[in-house]
């Protein structure tokens, strides 16, 4: 199981939890599982999310492997100027 930290506005879609546990080995599995378990998260996932894995930010990268003790943080999709 992987613990995923949700930012504040997403928590209401996940029964108020700041952190949820999902069974996933990759980002793709994690996002699919989140969307299936908490349909309220789906619009944001569709619009785009970034994921921080142990402090490193990934914008897409479905197949990035997640270790069981990894820190995973969901973040809005990054852009810049």
């Amino acid at each position: 199981m992987v613990k995923v930290l949700l930012w504040g506005t997403l928590r209401s879609a996940a029964d108020g939890q700041a952190e949820v546990e999902v069974a996933a080995r990759t980002f793709k599995e994690l996002l699919d599982e989140l969307a299936a378990r908490y349909p309220g998260l789906e619009p944001q996932i569709k619009r785009g999310v970034s994921l921080a894995l142990d402090g490193k930010i990934y914008r897409e990268a479905w197949f990035t492997e997640i270790g069981p003790d990894s820190e995973v943080v969901l973040m809005p999709y990054m852009t810049g100027g």
Binding site: W7, A18, D54, V73, M75, M78, G80, G81
Partner: protein
């Protein structure tokens, strides 16, 4: 061994300052920018724009204009479809108003004619029947119940019920127990701040040359930060296949984020398609201000608690941003970045975006971050004043470091904030004496940086030279940096390499030049493409020598037999291998494609001294020093250039630049005369101190440097001014009338 991970090494070329490859073209006037291209049979286009801030378009009659001699095509929203995708719909609606004109300057029709004079004359003959609607241009007004609704039904699901329909987006970040944190504070300061929208202010107005032929193929020559993204948007809006639209990026006369979005390019293509001739469309400066860029405007509240020895116990920010008449997610970045420089137990940031009757926000260097960090750094500074504490010592005491749980969630890896603060503390600037009416300000700054989709092709020519083909327009010397990294990796001289920026048909997809990504991501892909070519060259040498290719190494630009074969053959240089490439298996090229991650966040600290004329509120920047972590400065001159340019744009934002709207909702200052960007005589030299704390995510340790530099100046200057006049300033820009009023109110 992960080839993309940082490895400590001695650089031979990276870190030197060779001449840029596009230098001679640019100093002789030969470089071709957006407006410099022509095509046979070319028409000239002009855009008709709404004189109203908010109006329903009842009818458009183009018949008289169409009858004017020389007029070859006119388009309105009726010539475009209605995209299903909400993002694309916004992009298209911004290029051409559909049902309503949403801001002063919103395009409502466009004409292509045989001369600019005929196109202008035609605009005067287009009759638009408007039903003028109430408008709102202020973010706080737009959030109030009963405010004029800019666009209905556009709110995301995350917006709490009961808010104005203009509020499209809401976000929240943070961790810890705020109440408990504030209870531990010896003093709490809560202040409200406002910032005006600013424009990227690039000197080259947006320009393009579109050519659509009757067989459905099209070419677009355009000044852009991202030809591939422009292709995606234009092809989608025009219903074209990507392969049929080739977009070539011209030399670009500045962008700073403002040329990451299409404004009139789909219109030029539609006109060309309709007229059956090439169409050139160049915006005037007035149009650039009214209908491209700008940033968000903001209204913010920040509350911070501190102990008397300078430890922050809790921090909260509420950010209200407006990205104009469309949805805008920039407040996310502002909310995430606000407290990134601090190690905090309890922190919360809340953000809202509200639509107003202003042009659609476009990215500008570290979008969203300069504003929220300005507000936070102002309150931190005021707390330091309250307790009589040294502002650098307080920042060091609270500074985020490796292992800090950041205010936006993830735990930081290696970051350079403390080193940057220490460098500022040790610098003579920090200890220099100040005179009367002078103040010193400092601020931390932060930006995420990112990598993104990148594709590089590197070809080894038979004469021993190398071509690098990349897909990102060069806005600040990146061709020089890319060539340097290729030279370093290949072990050949810098001037044996020519790096070019490819059109969309010549290379795989590259994300736009944004997010400070180019030197990081294109550099990474170039290094790996070079390694790919090196591997092939080693293989060719091994075949020539008749040894196993694993027993060949690449040293100083040559294949060298290694292991059991060491010393058996003399080194074979790149030129020697290239010369016989036809005989050994054909052309030698290296490639790399990646969606790069691991850009590594960047911190900076700015120090500035300001003098204020107490009788007029005039400010003078006396001294300015930028400290920033570059990871590794590939071409230090251009790293300094990014730091200096970012600082000066921030100085403009802090002191004089602003979008001024009249009660009628019209932009009052759409020109360089009254939109006051800094001129040479306004400024001192901008000193720079580059720190190099390697980014673990890049083979050479590179971090992006382009954006962080605009983040600290707003607060650094506001803190300096506030200290100089003895009044806390809370609104940007600090133009002289505002400053004099504050000084006189103090008495």
């Amino acid at each position: 061994m992960a080839l993309d991970a940082y490895q400590k090494r001695e650089f031979k070329q990276v870190g030197t300052r060779p001449n840029r490859p596009d230098g001679v073209d640019k100093v002789t006037g030969r470089a071709m920018y957006g407006a410099d291209a022509t095509a046979p049979g070319m028409l000239h286009a002009k855009v008709l724009r709404s004189p109203h801030a908010h109006a329903r378009i009842v009818a458009i009659d183009t018949s008289a204009a169409e009858a004017l001699p020389g007029v070859k095509a006119i388009v309105t929203a009726a010539d475009f479809g209605v995209p299903e995708d909400a993002f694309l719909l916004d992009v298209q609606d911004h290029c051409m108003a559909r049902e309503k004109a949403l801001y002063d300057g919103h395009a409502v029709a466009a004409v292509a004619a045989t001369s600019l004079a005929a196109a202008k004359a035609a605009l005067n003959l287009i009759k638009v029947d408007y039903e003028v609607l109430p408008h709102v241009t202020d973010v706080d007004e737009a959030m109030k119940p009963g405010a004029p609704v800019v666009q209905a039904g556009r709110a995301f699901e995350n917006v709490p019920a009961g808010m104005s329909e203009n509020v499209t987006h809401h976000c929240e970040f943070g961790h810890g127990d705020l109440d408990a944190g504030f209870a531990k504070a010896d003093h709490i300061i809560e202040r409200s701040f406002r910032t005006a929208a600013t424009h990227q202010g690039y000197i080259e107005p947006n320009a393009c040359l579109a050519s659509v032929t009757s067989d459905g193929r099209a070419d677009l020559w355009v000044c852009t930060q991202g030809q591939f993204f422009y292709r995606t948007l234009c092809a989608a809006i025009l219903g074209m296949e990507a392969s049929q639209l080739r977009v070539t990026a011209s030399e670009i006369g500045g962008g700073f984020g403002g040329k990451t979005m299409v404004y009139m390019e789909p219109v030029a293509l539609a006109l060309s398609k309709k007229a059956g001739r090439p169409v050139k469309l160049v915006l005037t400066r007035d149009e650039v201000f009214r209908a491209t860029g700008p940033t968000v405007s903001s209204s913010m509240d920040v509350k911070i608690g501190m102990t008397k020895d300078g430890r922050i116990t809790a921090a909260q920010a509420r950010l209200r941003y407006s990205g104009g008449a469309f949805h805008c997610g920039t407040v996310d970045f502002g909310a995430q970045a606000a407290f990134a420089a601090y190690d905090l137990e309890a922190v919360q940031t809340l953000g809202w975006n509200a639509m107003t009757n202003r042009p659609k926000e476009s990215a500008y260097r570290a979008p969203g971050a300069p504003l929220s960090i300005y507000a936070v750094e102002s309150v931190v500074d005021e707390l330091c004043q309250h307790f009589g504490l040294d502002p650098l010592a307080v920042r060091l005491k609270n500074a985020a470091d490796k292992g800090t749980k950041s205010s936006y969630g993830p735990t930081f890896d290696q970051i350079g904030l403390k080193a940057t603060l220490e460098a500022a503390k040790a610098h003579p600037h920090y200890a220099a004496p100040l005179g009367p009416n002078q103040g010193r300000g400092l601020s931390c700054g932060f930006w995420f940086n990112f990598g993104g989709n990148t594709c590089v092709s590197l070809s080894v020519n038979t004469d021993g030279t190398v071509g690098v083909t990349e897909g990102n327009p060069d806005i600040g010397g990146s061709r020089a940096s890319i060539s340097l990294m290729a030279a370093e990796e290949l072990g050949i001289p810098y001037d044996k390499i020519r790096t070019i920026v490819a059109d969309t048909s010549s290379l795989g997809y590259n994300d736009v030049t944004d997010g400070s990504r180019v030197t990081f991501a294109v550099g990474l892909a170039t290094i790996k493409a070079a390694r790919d070519a090196v591997q092939k060259m080693c293989s060719r040498a091994a075949k020539i020598w008749g040894i196993d290719e694993d027993a060949v190494e690449w040293v100083d630009g040559a294949a060298v037999p290694a292991g059991p074969n060491a010393g058996k053959f003399p080194p074979m240089t790149l030129a020697e291998i290239a010369a016989v490439s036809a005989e050994t298996g054909g052309p030698i090229c290296g490639h790399h494609e990646v969606n790069a991650d691991g850009a590594g966040v960047s911190f900076g600290v700015h120090l500035c001294d300001i003098e204020v004329d107490p009788e007029t509120g005039a400010t003078k920047v006396l001294r300015y020093t930028v400290f920033q972590d570059a990871g590794k400065a590939v071409h230090p001159s251009y790293v300094e250039g990014q730091m200096q340019g970012g600082a000066v744009q921030g100085i403009g934002w802090a002191l004089n630049e602003e979008y001024i709207y009249g009660a009628d909702g019209k932009l009052q200052n759409p020109g360089f005369l009254d939109y006051r960007i800094p001129v040479a005589s306004d400024l001192p030299m901008i000193d720079t101190v580059i720190l190099e704390i390697p980014n673990p995510g890049h083979p050479y340790g590179v971090r992006g440097v382009g954006e962080t530099g605009i983040v600290p100046p707003l607060a650094a200057i506001s803190n300096a001014v506030s200290r100089a006049v003895g009044v806390r300033m809370t609104e940007l820009p600090m133009s002289p009338p505002k400053l004099l009023k504050a000084i006189e109110a103090k008495g």
